[in-house]
């Protein structure tokens, strides 16, 4: 993983254990987010500095409850850990992050890590939140667990970090070897049954006796463990198909034997581990029996937030507030950006002499970038609120409240967060479906997710609404413009839910759905980390979108500006340019939707990304405009007249038809690419392109023709 010689440390813990906060504290801004090869789970790698001034690498693995994988995210951790055992660049130390307010369940994973033989430093996080009456003895914990160190700490209060680093450093230097025997109390008959597997793992794969025992137990518990060995055959020389076949045979025999003992093989590991853990923890904590009767602050807050009536009401209110804010708070920064772009264009006009290059600069690049930059404030606001809801723990409540409705249409309570992330961007949304264990529920969530209006549609809506929907108030309080925006989000969402139900009936896959979701305590989001996330996502948006927009703007400017003269040497206009010809060719197909050739060009360029519509229109109008200054896009569209009829090209009805088209159309190549990667076949992305674009054409057609028939223009 790292070509340099710095030691590296892995950070592993349960979801909600504060792992990421610790990662951020240890590495500061010095981190790099990339993807694991071939898959799109975020791989967060950072560099930290020890107290003695030396550096180390830190890898933040996805949160998991155990090394027996259930969801896709968790499989990453299991696979990584097995690769370390097989000698593939293991970390010098593993930091196991444990939520001290929730010891037994968090330590379950730690005990699995302790079997690996890699030094484990336990970061006992959230010590500040532990009940005053409760006493946790780190030394006793360290002793009976057999950990390299146990460091009480608090990421929130930033305490214990130096101690943690000290212990990690010390263990990197000494590299202690853990020769403890497998600590769980496995009864004699079970030990005898497991023996063939244990000795096979010991002899053929060179496992330590302790890890061989742990892995034998896990093989019995979950068949998915076997799949790792099957997949490893191609990758690792040590594992051959003969060994894996033997493992498989031994496993089947052992399971039969265990069932003869009237035990359930699938529950064996969990029961043995918790028995051992609970017995040892009981020694340390005598007054711990009444935990379940304690009502903590989060439960009190939830008396309102997940209340029978108030709960859903608050959720709806929050959604409404967020969408209103997108408009209200963004208008001032948007004006600044508009003024800035205008100033830049004027500056270039005075500085650069008239030339093709100036045309490219002003009409292509500045007009294209400016058209997109202006929507950044709205995107940032949306991302800010979504991150806030996620980090505070509220999203788990939403999943809890909505799971019933979601499961009725073939989705999962955990689909809510990905779908809501879809309002920002489909790509992180699709990535976050990995937390859904059931493949069918996950697939349906991915397929309908692109119908959630993402921030790339926002520029399109905002442009069309701003220019063509009158700013009047309806029903005393609602602005028609704001309402129109809500309607666009609403029809996308409702269609998505209806299609989910249809796909659910149509897609046949086996596999039971399960729903075991921790309700994490409410936490005040650390604003710095919220801002950091928003910043990272906004930067990604700007760079990714910026690259595409820049390239397309340049190509488009060329296609729209050339040829300059026809074969008789006469000046020709944009109508006869390359771009104009393309637009006019497809015009007959899109005319029934109310679109002219300019929109036709934009529909093609939008295939790269939806927001390109705005920059495309800006480029076209700027090339068309022969004067020196830059034209304001919405004015240009309003003043655009059809030369043959003398009527405006864009009307409110055309604007609505165009917006509806953008609600449904599959236009983002990045989304296709990610669905291809996640489903590992072209079938699903192709299916998505077809169903979304057919839907877009049909609904737009109905809106425009229906509108004309009703007498709208």
């Amino acid at each position: 993983m790292n070509a340099d010689t710095l030691p590296w440390v892995a950070l592993i813990g349960n979801p909600n254990s504060g792992k990421t906060a610790i990662f951020n504290l240890l590495t500061g801004m010095n981190q790099k987010v990339s993807n694991y090869p071939g898959i799109t789970v975020e791989k967060k790698l950072g560099t930290g500095q020890f107290n003695d001034g030396t550096f180390y690498h830190l890898l933040d693995l996805p949160g998991t409850y155990s090394l027996t994988p259930e969801s896709f995210d968790e499989r990453i951790v299991t696979e990584q850990v097995l690769q370390w055992i097989h000698g593939n660049n293991p970390p010098a130390v593993i930091v196991s992050v444990v939520d001290a307010t929730n010891l037994s369940r968090n330590l379950y994973l730690t005990t699995q890590l302790l079997d690996l033989g890699i030094p484990i430093v336990i970061g006992l996080n959230m010590m500040d939140l532990v009940d005053k009456t409760e006493k946790i003895d780190p030394l006793s914990l360290k002793k009976w667990l057999g950990a390299a160190a146990v460091v009480p700490m608090s990421a929130l209060k930033k305490s214990g970090l130096n101690k943690l680093k000290e212990q990690v450093r010390a263990n990197i230097l000494t590299r202690p070897v853990n020769n403890d025997i497998f600590p769980l109390e496995v009864t004699k008959p079970i030990e005898t049954i497991l023996m063939p597997i244990i000795s096979l793992l010991y002899k053929k794969l060179g496992y330590t006796p302790r890890f061989a025992a742990a892995q034998a137990l896990r093989l019995i518990t979950r068949k998915s463990t076997l799949e790792f060995y099957n997949r490893a055959i191609q990758k690792e020389r040590k594992i051959d198909s003969k060994t894996v076949n033997e493992l498989e045979d031994f496993r089947i025999i052992a399971i039969k034997e265990i069932e003869k003992e009237e035990l359930k093989p699938s529950s064996l590991e969990a029961i043995l581990r918790y028995q051992w853990l609970d017995a040892n923890l009981a020694q340390d904590r005598s007054d711990h029996i009444n935990q379940i009767r304690k009502i903590n602050t989060s439960e009190k807050i939830d008396q309102i937030f997940t209340h029978k009536w108030l709960g859903p009401g608050i959720f709806m209110g929050l959604l409404y507030f967020i969408f209103q804010s997108i408009f209200n708070f963004a208008s001032i920064p948007m004006e600044w950006i508009e003024a800035g772009v205008d100033w830049l264009g004027k500056g270039v006009v005075t500085l650069v002499p008239e030339s093709n290059f100036r045309g490219l600069l002003i009409d292509g690049i500045i007009a294209g970038m400016g058209a997109i930059l202006i929507f950044l404030p709205q995107i940032v606001i949306l991302m800010f609120f979504l991150t806030l809801l996620e980090d505070s723990g509220y999203m788990a409540r939403v999943a809890f409240m909505l799971d019933r409705g979601m499961s009725k249409i073939g989705l999962h309570g955990r689909s809510v967060l990905p779908l809501m992330s879809g309002y920002a961007c489909a790509i992180p949304g699709i990535m976050s479906t990995r937390t859904i264990d059931n493949w069918k529920e996950r697939l349906i969530t991915m397929l309908i997710l692109p119908l959630m209006s993402c921030s790339a549609r926002l520029p399109v809506y905002a442009l069309m609404i701003g220019a063509f929907i009158p700013p009047i108030t309806v029903g005393y309080v609602f602005s028609l413009q704001g309402l129109m925006m809500v309607v666009m989000y609403f029809i996308g969402t409702v269609t998505a839910l209806i299609l989910a139900k249809i796909f659910n009936l149509w897609i046949k896959t086996k596999g039971k759905s399960s729903f075991v979701m921790e309700m994490p305590p409410y936490r005040l989001p650390i604003l710095r980390s919220v801002f950091r996330q928003v910043f990272i996502r906004a930067k990604l948006f700007l760079f990714n979108a910026g690259k595409i927009i820049m390239a397309i703007s340049v190509i488009l400017w060329f296609l729209a500006s050339f040829p300059k003269t026809d074969k008789n040497g006469e000046q020709i206009t944009i109508h006869n340019s390359f771009a104009g010809k393309i637009g006019h060719t497809i015009e007959p197909i899109i005319q029934p939707l109310g679109f002219d050739w300019k929109v036709g060009i934009a529909l093609i360029t939008s295939f790269a990304a939806r927001e390109v519509l705005v920059s495309t229109m800006a480029t076209i109008y700027n090339v068309e405009n022969t004067a020196d200054d830059m034209v304001q896009l919405s004015d240009a569209m309003k003043n655009d007249m059809n030369p043959s009829t003398g009527l405006p090209v864009f009307t409110p009805l055309v604007a609505v038809s165009l917006m509806v088209f953008y609600v449904y159309a599959a236009q983002c190549m990045a989304t296709f690419a990610i669905i291809r990667r996640e489903t590992n076949t072209w079938k699903w992305p192709l299916f998505m392109i077809v169903y979304m674009n057919v839907l877009a054409y049909l609904v737009s057609f109905l809106v425009y023709q229906g509108g004309l028939w009703l007498g709208f223009s």
């Binding site: 259930e70 997940t306 799971d403 019933r404 399960s514 979701m517």
Partner: protein, 73 residues
Amino acid sequence: MTVGDLQQGDTAIVKSYLGGLDRQSRFLEMGILPGIELRLVKIAPLGGTIELKIRDYYVSIRQQDALNILIEN
């Protein structure tokens, strides 16, 4: 009786599981084991899911799964 039969505020001790083995392993890993005591915190506003307190944490599961967790009387 099963966890699915509990009312808000009730506590109970888990006895055993009914039904598919594959499905229960996640419950077990989360520490919902025979012999452990739990409290039904809340039924979701629209039904379908319930919230439990178990060990030191809160967890929500589906009503239909709760019907597979037998409790001691």
